[in-house]
Symmetry: C2
Subunit: 335 residues, 2 copies
Amino acid sequence: MANIKDIAEMAQVSSATVSRVINNEQNVKQETRVKVIEAMKKLNYIPNRIARDMKVKKTNSIGLILADIINPFYAETAKRIVEVANENNYSVFLFNTNDNINQQEKYIDILLQRQVDGFIFASAYWEENYFENIVSKGIPFVLYNRTPYNFDNYNYVVADNRKGANMMVEHLYNLGHERIALISGPDIYSTARDKAAGYFEAIKKLGLSYRRRLIMTGPKLDKCAYDATIKLLASSPPPTAIFAANDSMALSVLEAVKRQGLKIAEDIAVVGFNNIEIAGHNLINLTTMDQNKRVMAEIAINNLIGIISNNSSHDKIQVTVEPQLVVRKTCGSIS
Amino acid sequence: MANIKDIAEMAQVSSATVSRVINNEQNVKQETRVKVIEAMKKLNYIPNRIARDMKVKKTNSIGLILADIINPFYAETAKRIVEVANENNYSVFLFNTNDNINQQEKYIDILLQRQVDGFIFASAYWEENYFENIVSKGIPFVLYNRTPYNFDNYNYVVADNRKGANMMVEHLYNLGHERIALISGPDIYSTARDKAAGYFEAIKKLGLSYRRRLIMTGPKLDKCAYDATIKLLASSPPPTAIFAANDSMALSVLEAVKRQGLKIAEDIAVVGFNNIEIAGHNLINLTTMDQNKRVMAEIAINNLIGIISNNSSHDKIQVTVEPQLVVRKTCGSIS
DNA sequence: TTGTACGCGTTATCAT
DNA sequence: ATGATAACGCGTACAA
């Protein structure tokens, strides 16, 4: 592997000059520039980026830690984040916590050692205390989608889940539903908390009676959503609508409803949250809340890069994106 | 940011000793070890991994370049690759070519500069010449799923797409179909070529007549599959079965069939390839070929890591995994 | 068991 | 416009 000195030797210049042409600096004679470039070609030279990074103390790399890349919601945001990062000459390390609460801290440590310039967390738990640790190191990060319980001082890009859930319940109410069940993730996710809060808010606002029986939460999400649905359908009186806190869970709900021989929409309304791509498929037609993932992802990555380059950690990025109701067919229509 | 010297100073030892405790070497007195560890804690020390990497000439990082993380097929393999890599103390850089043929080479160059220890390519095009360039640099890589036209000397993990397609056509034939359409990606993907080859092989073997009209290929995949289906259904006589070269396309085919008011399975059989998770959903029930992505991904990453650590680039990893027919409902049943 | 000294491949400073 | 050289933070002989 040729290095900068080999090039210098072959081109009969100093390594400083070679460095100049590598970095496209202008103060170098055209003639010597071509000499150097030829030498680089001849030796198949590849600049050693980590040596450079060590010197300039910047790696142009970021860490993306997310909950589950299988979930289309995360896949869609990961795609956009990686794209925009690359366009700006950043590379991204991908980590997948698989919602395993112990991985997070380990991955952060690895990324810190690797000297990343910043983080995006799409995997935060409600109770988390080590973000302070990161800010104390002065390395910027933005929380995506989920937040820990105390995040007023952090950068974040989230959806207004409380409002979205509220709107969704109201939509179901307007369709004539009064027994609306909620199937949500566990409280360790801020998204689950906020959606539950919005749900209760709406229940109260609309004067619907609160039924503990209709609230299902659990850690295994998809698998849990299926089981929860079976239970709900067996209860009496059963709910007339089921609100799943995300589309992946809603898919499981649909599956359970069908398996029980009930007609979706007709016998029971089902709605989700996220608007993942498959939700719009005409074999699914899931009514859901769109989060504009593409825009959310862009805001997150662009601002992270902005903070990194300006080093102005003064202005916090705190964005709450309004979700939008997407009415399809699983919720049925006004009779 | 504290460095190894700061620790050495505070702990009243040499930096060499600090290095020893960082790397958990045994030849250091317990007493001094704790002194050092305390100093590290006190100064909130984080070892600078890129300085270490430069010294030892190994980064424990790999590059994963894939075609489209949105496609569940790639998402599912990416997840497993990242998981196994992490378990083995490797970090992975993720790049998404979005099937843009120009990105690939650029990303390879970036990864090379970043001194990755190896690559996994799940995005190769049929015509590609720069892999030789990488082998000449001695850095190992494995081709995943797709291959370029000349890959006998490379490591690869692929499915037997030819055989899989052949089996699928035969399955449809056994169900009574004789006009079987193929909707496939363009020939720049080895997977598309191989599936087409298997399709023709079966057509011939079964004595079915070849109809040019029934073969649709195109670059835009999903969108193209939808349009192709519309055309196929309008042709006369229309096919009685449509074989889509992957599940994502099959989903679009299903969508088009439904939109045309036809009954899936009853009026026309539809089958896919990949067995992505949603294919098993009981609102979809897509008949498809399972590729055992989890195992394929494990083979790829484990072997890559093996090659890296053994440095024995002698034994090539060349694995072709047998796909397995998964019969669900979109293909209909024997009447 | 510990310390000294050098090198990894760059960039940056200061000369010239 | 170019060169000499000192960092960057760490590992690793080699010596002690």
